[in-house]
């Protein structure tokens, strides 16, 4: 086996500008998808828990659809399928010096819609995990459902779901590679492009894998710090229920 060490080190330590741009795009897409997922997830969770069938069934259907089909299919469907049917076409979005091109928008939207379903399930579990007594006490004080949610249930649910959400973001970082199929030049597509000119496949993919390991490890460190902070908080007594929900992913 021949491994081109100098090339490997060069790519690892002084990567092409395109690769760095790919790294930023990977981060942008992941964060964007996560934000959309969070924004969708909470109302979906509330709709899913609602007594009204007009809210509950659409939410259920959305979650079923997003969790029952492959993300890769969702990505192509949203970018190409919707455009083919004339439902939604993506055009460049220009904000001052920044341009977010259509396929990046589609990629973020697809990742976000997919994530929204998983977020909805996490939010739902988190809300359900808050003791019913909390809601009853709030009711008995004359608070209305919106107030109860905002001041009592959500603050407690958020602590419970912080870690599952963190795990989801780790998955999101990795899933962001899938948008390469619609031509978004994130790290994987950049690597493929460089490879199609240099053919140092093994070296290039090793570098790519290392970059992902670093990204996911950094995020893992952030999560451990948050966990530690929460545990310390719990020890000091400024919180109650933590750490119930630790699993439940893709």
């Amino acid at each position: 086996m021949h491994f081109d060490w100098p090339y490997f080190w060069h790519q690892l330590l002084e990567p092409d500008g395109a690769f760095i741009q790919g790294l930023w795009l990977t981060i942008l897409i992941s964060v964007g998808g996560q934000v959309i997922g969070l924004v969708i997830g909470l109302p979906m969770a509330l709709a899913r828990r609602s007594a009204s069938v007009f809210l509950m069934w659409p939410a259920r259907f959305y979650i079923f659809l997003m969790r029952g089909t492959p993300l890769l299919v969702q990505i192509v469907f949203i970018y190409t399928g919707l455009a083919a049917a004339g439902i939604l076409r993506f055009h460049d979005f220009i904000a001052g010096p920044f341009t977010i091109s259509g396929n990046v928008q589609a990629g973020i939207l697809a990742l976000g819609l997919n994530e929204g379903a998983y977020m909805a399930e996490i939010f739902r579990a988190g809300i359900d995990a808050v003791d019913r007594g909390q809601t009853e006490a709030a009711k008995s004080l004359g608070m209305v459902p919106g107030q109860i949610l905002r001041f009592v249930v959500l603050p407690q649910a958020l602590r419970i779901i912080l870690l599952p959400i963190g795990n989801q973001f780790n998955i999101m970082l990795k899933n962001s590679t899938l948008v390469s199929v619609i031509g978004v030049s994130e790290m994987l597509l950049v690597t493929e492009t460089i490879n199609s000119a240099t053919f140092r496949t093994f070296e290039l993919y090793s570098v790519l894998a290392l970059y992902f390991l670093v990204l996911t490890s950094i995020w893992g460190g952030v999560m451990r710090y948050v966990e530690w902070r929460m545990d310390r908080g719990a020890a000091r007594g400024d919180t109650a229920v933590i750490g119930t929900l630790q699993g439940e992913h893709i």
Binding site: V76, Y79, T80, A83, A84, R89, F90, H91, D92, T99, S101, G102, N103, S180, V181, I182, G183, S185, L189, E192, T193, N195, S196, A197, F199, T201
Partner: protein, 248 residues
């Protein structure tokens, strides 16, 4: 008949890597059988060597890595003969190709690539169109103009459809493919101008596969002589791409 590599003698099969997505060169029939110029040629070459042909479909950018990885014995996928490629593989020339820019009907024609300044242009990852557009961008930047926004897709259908839906303004692709779509889906696409960038196109082989190289070269020569070659190019209406006109 020249000797073939032992593994191939044993399996009686030649494995071609191909991005079966670029009509009329290679594409899948509705029954998902490969067809096209390259497929006809590949089949004919295999037959003359007494072998079966199998086609391994993969994204264009993965072709040379796959060949180097010994996932196939040859690439037959409208692979242009370029210096950078010849550093890692050998190529047996068998035709000429051209490049083209595909547009939506009614869009202003493009005399050269620099005319695409500021536009969003689709390509397929790893193809020569990408390289040419990159070069044009260097020139544009030097001239202080807005560069072309290149969006590289892993495969042709994706790229083409984005033009169809107006999510990109143009598609940089081989002339042969561009022409195919202009005829195949009337009213959807238009040529941006005459073909440009004539380039020899070859069958990709690993370096040092001398036996296979000689066997294929000899078979190709025979086919050019006996008219098989010309028949194939006539069938697909690509006479302008022939290496040597039949009988000439």
């Amino acid at each position: 008949q020249a000797a073939l590599p032992p593994a191939m003698m044993k399996s009686k099969t030649i494995r071609y890597c191909s991005a079966i997505n670029l009509p009329p060169m290679e594409f899948m029939s509705p029954q998902t059988k490969p067809e096209g110029v390259d497929i006809d040629l590949g089949d004919a070459l295999a037959k003359s060597l007494g072998l079966n042909a199998v086609y391994i479909n993969m994204p264009f950018a993965g072709l040379i890595p796959a060949l180097l990885a010994d996932h196939c014995d040859a690439i037959i996928s409208q692979l242009f003969i370029k210096k950078s490629r010849l550093q890692v593989i050998d190529e047996i020339p068998y035709m000429f190709s051209h490049e083209a820019v595909l547009l939506k009907p009614g869009a202003p024609k493009v005399p050269d690539l620099e005319a695409l300044s500021g536009k969003k242009v689709a390509t397929v990852t790893g193809t020569t169109a990408t390289v040419l557009l990159d070069k044009a961008n260097v020139a544009l930047k030097a001239a202080g103009k807005t560069p072309i926004d290149i969006v590289a897709f892993p495969e042709n259908t994706q790229a083409l459809q984005q033009l169809q839906f107006g999510q990109v303004a143009a598609y940089g692709v081989a002339y042969e493919t561009a022409r195919y779509y202009v005829h195949k889906v009337p009213g959807q696409f238009a040529m941006g101008g005459p073909p440009y960038f004539k380039i020899a196109t070859g069958i990709g082989l690993r370096k040092n596969e001398t036996a296979l190289n000689q066997a294929l070269s000899a078979s190709l020569a025979t086919m050019m002589k006996n008219g098989t070659y010309a028949t194939i190019f006539k069938k697909w209406d690509l006479g302008i791409d022939m290496l040597k006109p039949a009988g000439g």
